[in-house]
Structures are given as structure tokens and as C-alpha cells.
Subunit: 205 residues, 2 copies
């Protein structure tokens, strides 16, 4: 019997490089990327089904009623949610699913999926985090300030994650996350059928 | 503050390739190898301090009295034990320590060191295990038969280990174990001082 896929939950500070990391994991290893649903307006350049599944408020609320999300939340007046169907079908097919999500969502998912692999991505230091946010050049000082303030709150939740990955060099960071995924897939809790097979085989020799 | 080293406990079927695996891990990554003490006679070619620390019964029993072993056992009339001093000093110095040990010893160590990383090495199948034992050419049929019988008992303890590593190809097996070691070292429980540092830094910006 094929092993079920892992649910890999990635959070981290804004500016830690989660987006690039996730893209590399999908490109290099073919992991399935869960795409969130949202009711907010697409920003210029965002593509439906790539960046988000864009939904109307009515569509989103119908999905809530049908238990269509493994977690969802409302920020300001917009909904954001993780579609259940994609995640569960991919895992059942033996594919590892990657989910990039903020702290509260990660905590909710871990409650429902205790085997979910949770990791928090951080820059090597707050100084480097700040300079990366400035380096993007896309945000004004007030926005960066807001992101740095949110990082203080997010840092309180770091111990809740099973793994902390320091993103200093992208390639090293990708390798480290890939090591975590390989290790998690080697856990004996997933090897029950292999263990039973080899036990039967040994007994019948 | 430097992170403490990991205690990596490796067990597995006779013929699964533990010895070669451990040698490669030490050679490639410089991990510290714990060498057992024994009161049995050295076999031809065995070197004191390399294969075992050979002790007299009196020396061994004095070490027991001084709490000098993290675990020990008596087989037939010989003692075998894991010296405490080496393991604890190496871990305190931030070095990962590898311990190759049979099932009961691994269980005893996990009780004392709950953070110990336990892995069980197996061949892909019982058939392959048997053919590897014959392939060694160093053992008669009765000995191989005894090893295969012991494998049946050992297989019952496989679920006690955190990780199961199938040794099909040596290089892949070494990589997989190395991934497990990297993942274990990334656990948030070891990152307390890093988390506190970045929290302080964020708050003081």
C-alpha cells in the first residue's frame, strides 16, 4: 500500500523568503501546492487559480456551509480559506502537499491534522529581516513598520512549530526543508504495512 | 549558545548493513562514534579502543558501581556496556554521537534520553536480508539461521523506533539518515536561545 502524502505547513515572518522557498520546493520536487480561496479583489498581476482562487462572498459562504475549508478566517472584511478537497485528495494520492499560511491558521490545521509537519521560516536576524523588506522596494516605511510589529507577535508562536528553518541562503534553506520532509516520511508510524510485510516474510522462511 | 549534540541510536537486523552505514556517517560527517565496553575476549583482528574497549570483569563491575554506563547488559557470561562519559561530553561539546546498539539497549537509552533519535535499519525484504548474510561468506548455516530467528523478535520492536530506514542502496541510505539528523537538529525545542534573541532584537527595533 502506498504511503499517504504529508501535509507540510509553512509559516514565517514577512520577508523571510517563504514565497521563493515554496516555489523552489514545488519546482524541484513536484510537491502539490495548496492555493487559498479569498473574497478580496485580485491585485494587478494576480491570476485566479495561481495566486488565489478568487470567490464572491456568497460562493465563499456556501463553501463554509459545506465544510469546504480545513480552515478559514476573516481579515478586515475579506475571507481567506484553505480548500479541503484539494488537500485531502492529494494526500490520499500519496502526494506531499505544501500549505503557506499565517500563524493562527497553522495552529488550527495542526489541531485537525496532528501529523501535519509545521515549520517556521525566519531570517537569521531581525536586522536582516528589515533590510530584506526594504530591499523589496515595493513597500513604504509605514507598511514595513507594520510588518515588523507583526513579527513581534508572530515570534511568540515560533515554539508552537515543530521545526525552525533559518533562511540565510536559499539553496541551503530548500535542502534543509527537503531533509525535514524526507525525515518525516521515514517515521515508523507510516511504515506499519512495511513492518507487517517483513514480519510475515521472516516468519514464513 | 551552541546547540547540544544529538544522540543518534541505530539498531537493525543483522545483515541490514548497519556497520557500513555507521562507518560512512562517521567518515563523511565526522560524527562521534560511541565504542562499547566488553569483558569478552577480542576476536582475531579486533583492536582495543576501535572495535571495543576490552575490560576485565573487575574493571567493568567497578564502572557499573560508579554509574559509568548509560546502559549495560550481560549476555552468556560477558558484559557489554555504553560508557557514559564519552557520550555526555561529546553531546555537551555540540557533537552528534552515534550509538549502534541492539533493541533492548536502545529502549533503555530512550528512557533516559527522551530526545535520543532512534532509527531501525532494515533490508528491503527478508529474502534480501538472508542473501546478504549468505553473501558475507563468513558464517555457517546454523549461525545465519539463528540470526534470521532473532530478526523475527527484533521486528516486533520496529514500531518502538521513531524512524525506519530501508537500506537498499548504501548512498541513499546514508543520505536518508543524514536528512533525519538535519531534521532533528532543526526542531524548535533546540532553538530556544535563537527564538529569544530574535524576539529581543525585534522588540528593540
Amino acid at each position: 500500500m502506498e504511503q499517504k502524502g504529508l501535509l507540510i505547513v509553512i509559516s514565517g515572518f514577512s520577508g523571510a523568503g517563504k514565497g521563493t522557498l515554496v516555489k523552489e520546493l514545488v519546482d524541484r520536487y513536484g510537491y502539490s501546492l495548496s492555493i487559498s480561496c479569498t473574497t478580496r479583489e485580485p491585485r494587478p498581476g494576480e491570476v485566479d487559480g495561481v495566486d488565489y482562487h478568487f470567490k464572491t462572498k456568497e460562493e465563499f459562504e456556501r463553501l463554509i456551509d459545506y465544510n469546504g475549508f480545513i480552515e478559514y478566517a476573516q481579515y478586515v472584511e475579506n475571507y481567506y480559506g484553505t480548500p479541503r478537497k484539494f488537500v485531502e485528495e492529494e494526500m490520499a494520492a500519496g502526494h506531499n502537499v505544501i500549505l503557506e499560511i499565517e500563524v493562527q491558521g497553522a495552529i488550527n490545521i495542526k489541531k485537525q491534522y496532528p501529523d501535519a509537519v509545521t515549520m517556521f521560516i525566519t531570517a537569521p536576524s531581525a536586522e536582516i529581516l528589515k533590510s530584506r523588506l526594504y530591499g523589496r522596494g515595493s513597500e513604504d516605511e509605514a507598511t514595513i513598520d507594520k510588518r515588523m510589529k507583526r513579527a513581534i507577535t508572530e515570534a511568540d508562536s515560533m515554539p508552537v512549530y515543530e521545526y525552525i528553518v533559518v533562511n540565510d541562503d536559499l539553496d541551503e534553506c530548500v535542502d534543509q526543508v527537503q531533509s525535514i520532509i524526507i525525515a518525516e516520511g521515514s517515521k515508523s508510524k507510516y511504515k506499519e504495512s512495511f513492518i507487517n510485510e517483513i514480519k510475515d516474510e521472516l516468519s514464513n522462511m
